[in-house]
């Protein structure tokens, strides 16, 4: 949204005036990310991750389109064309490693982005739609990353395809026809590889479309901020450009340094060595694990080992895994506390960090072998995950006594630098 004090777009150059009258695209950009978009003045570095996620998506699209120029989506040649990209294509190794590690970095920044939202209550009214669209993007990201991982047709690719489509096979009655439909056969084969290639190409553009809606929905109420107190007047905001373009630019620099360090010095650190073995439909590798960014969900899937009444363990695991994400769609209505930011919620604060640790433990367990004591630990950690959102959070919201909130963003900023007296008090917007 543009607050009433936002700077106005006034083209001076006659060419820009001519364009503005016909198609006001520069005006749109000015009001969306330029000086025409005022943003709270107190955003910390956790507010960088949205831009970084956008940057990661761009890296994936560009390197991906390049990879597709050298890739053969056929089970006979897929593995060797990826090797060819690595060895023969000029800078092909760079494109391939950038694309593979780019996926990891995409998930790193998106997880930080999500936990930022969880801590600072960014999902709360009036930003519920921003949150819901964000979750849609997250689901699309996981689907895209999964299908991309199948393309090199290594061992992990093949068995990942089998297991993930097998999740749909757990659905009663219609499950098996759905799995067969997804694979185009009874096991992963050329038909599966071909369609996954097509969809892996398509979905990033769907993601880009939903990102436009995500940003649009964000710009109606404007960004939240670390205090959770809404903007009250011009003194609470600064124009997005140059203040946050510069801050985001700095963050992007740090992101790229970290990315390039891994890309150039440890490009296979986050990958699985078994994907350098060509797909073998007759042998599942003994140490099969999904990519690290799926580990927490994988641990929840594996936590269900016994049947419960008439529901088989297989279906329970699948339901629990999907529920662990679908649950988040209801978060704005599970957390009923009127205080947005976790900074002013002492009890919430403690449980938030327990949740972070719980998710990290789930991640670690997802990468561990499926044996005791890991299975039992997964069960405890998975139970806690659901308890946090379904029991603990609604109870905290009801009984917690929040700390006093600052009167305004400006007040909070000035208090931080010990300049409370003599400064103007926030003036409500007209």
């Amino acid at each position: 949204m543009s607050f009433p004090w936002a700077e106005q777009y006034t083209p001076k150059n006659p060419v820009m005036v001519w364009i503005d009258e016909k198609l006001p695209l520069p005006r749109l950009a000015y009001n969306a990310v330029g000086a025409g978009y005022p943003v709270p003045r107190n955003l910390n570095y956790f507010w960088n991750f949205g831009v970084l996620a956008g940057l990661a998506l761009m890296i994936q699209i560009v390197t991906g389109v390049i990879m597709a120029m050298h890739y053969g989506a056929n089970d006979l040649v897929a593995f060797s064309t990826v090797e060819q990209t690595m060895r023969d294509v000029n800078a092909g190794w760079l494109m391939r490693y950038a694309h593979a590690n780019g996926a990891s970095f995409f998930f790193i920044v998106v997880y930080l982005h999500i936990f930022r939202g969880l801590y600072f209550g960014s999902y709360k009214a009036p930003r519920e739609m921003v949150w819901l669209l964000g979750l849609v993007i997250f689901l699309l990201m996981m689907a895209t990353a999964f299908m991309g991982y199948v393309l090199p047709w290594g061992q992990m690719s093949y068995w990942g395809a089998k297991v993930i489509t097998g999740l749909f096979g757990a659905i009663p009655v219609v499950g098996e026809p759905i799995q067969t439909w997804l694979l185009g056969g009874f096991a992963p084969g050329n038909a599966s590889l071909n369609r996954f290639f097509s969809l892996h190409f398509l979905l990033p553009f769907v993601i880009a479309g939903v990102i436009i809606l995500h940003i649009w929905a964000l710009h109606i109420p404007g960004s939240s901020n670390p205090t959770g107190v809404e903007v009250k007047g011009p003194q609470d905001t600064v124009p997005f450009h140059p203040y946050y373009t510069a801050k985001d630019g700095f963050g992007a620099g740090i992101f790229l340094i970290a990315f390039c360090t891994l890309l150039f010095f440890a490009p296979n650190f986050l990958g699985h060595p078994d994907n350098y073995i060509e797909a073998n439909p007759l042998s599942t590798p003994a140490h099969i694990v999904p990519e690290w960014y799926f580990w927490p969900f994988y641990a929840i899937l594996r936590a269900f080992t016994v049947d419960f009444f008439f529901v088989p363990a297989k279906l329970l695991g699948v339901l629990a895994m999907f529920a662990s994400i679908l649950l988040l769609f209801f978060l704005p209505w599970l957390d009923t506390s009127p205080v947005r930011s976790g900074k002013y919620r002492p009890t919430f604060n403690k449980f938030f960090w327990i949740l972070v640790i719980d998710v990290l433990i789930l991640g670690w367990l997802g990468g561990a072998p499926a044996e005791e004591p890991y299975v039992m630990m997964s069960q405890v950690a998975a139970a806690y995950y659901f308890a946090h959102f379904l029991i603990i959070l609604p109870l905290i919201s009801r009984f917690e006594k929040p700390l006093p909130l600052p009167g305004s963003i400006t007040e909070a900023v000035l208090a931080k630098y010990g300049k409370t007296d003599g400064e103007p008090v926030a003036v409500p917007a007209e």
Partner: protein, 188 residues
């Protein structure tokens, strides 16, 4: 103009207030809906197995070289097939189990051919999420029950390839097969 049209339409309203125009509206939209479904169906159906995938042959397996206690892996309908010759000890172990205590109750006799109980022919596809269980190859982990062990999510199968532990809901599937001679089977 608008007023005229309004009076016109109210004038035409028959009993129950249903006009002929309402029927035409519903009919037109329904027809477009049918057309839409007719377009979407082939767009979905093209992803189902193609004719060449469905034209699956049956598989003939020569058993003559398989020793007791040994298993081979072959393919049937592009999925792994396990053919194992059980030892008398393994048969005894499988028969010892009370089927009613099992998740998917079946006796070894129900899973094999009469008089040739030693030949255990199953799909090598874990009934959980479809990995190939270990145990067919020499020196592989056979799991707690001496049959097969799936490395993906830790399902254990016994010597009759019945599910004993872990998340898998069913025993390893026994495909349709018949003996063509004493040492050969035809699967499918």
């Amino acid at each position: 103009m608008a007023i005229v049209e309004h009076t016109d339409s109210t004038g035409l309203s028959g009993e129950d207030g249903v006009r002929r125009r309402d029927f035409i509206n519903i009919a037109a939209v329904s027809f477009a809906g049918v057309g839409g479904i007719a377009v979407v169906l082939p767009l979905i159906d093209q992803m189902n197995p193609s004719a060449d995938v469905l034209a699956l042959a049956s598989t003939e397996v020569d058993l003559s070289a398989i020793q007791p206690g040994q298993a081979i892996k072959t393919t049937f309908r592009s999925q792994p097939l396990f053919v194992r010759q059980l030892t008398p000890k393994e048969i005894a172990e499988a028969d010892k189990v009370d089927p009613s205590t099992l998740r998917d109750p079946q006796t070894l006799a129900e899973r094999t051919v009469d008089g040739k109980t030693q030949w255990l022919v199953t799909m090598g596809v874990c009934t959980h999420l479809g990995c190939v269980p270990l145990g067919a190859g020499e020196g592989e982990n056979k799991g707690e029950y001496g049959g097969y062990f799936c490395p993906c999510h830790g399902s254990s199968y016994d010597t009759a390839a019945r599910i004993r532990k872990g998340p898998a809901p069913k025993n390893l599937e026994v495909p349709k097969f018949s003996f063509t001679s004493d040492t050969a089977i035809l699967v499918g």
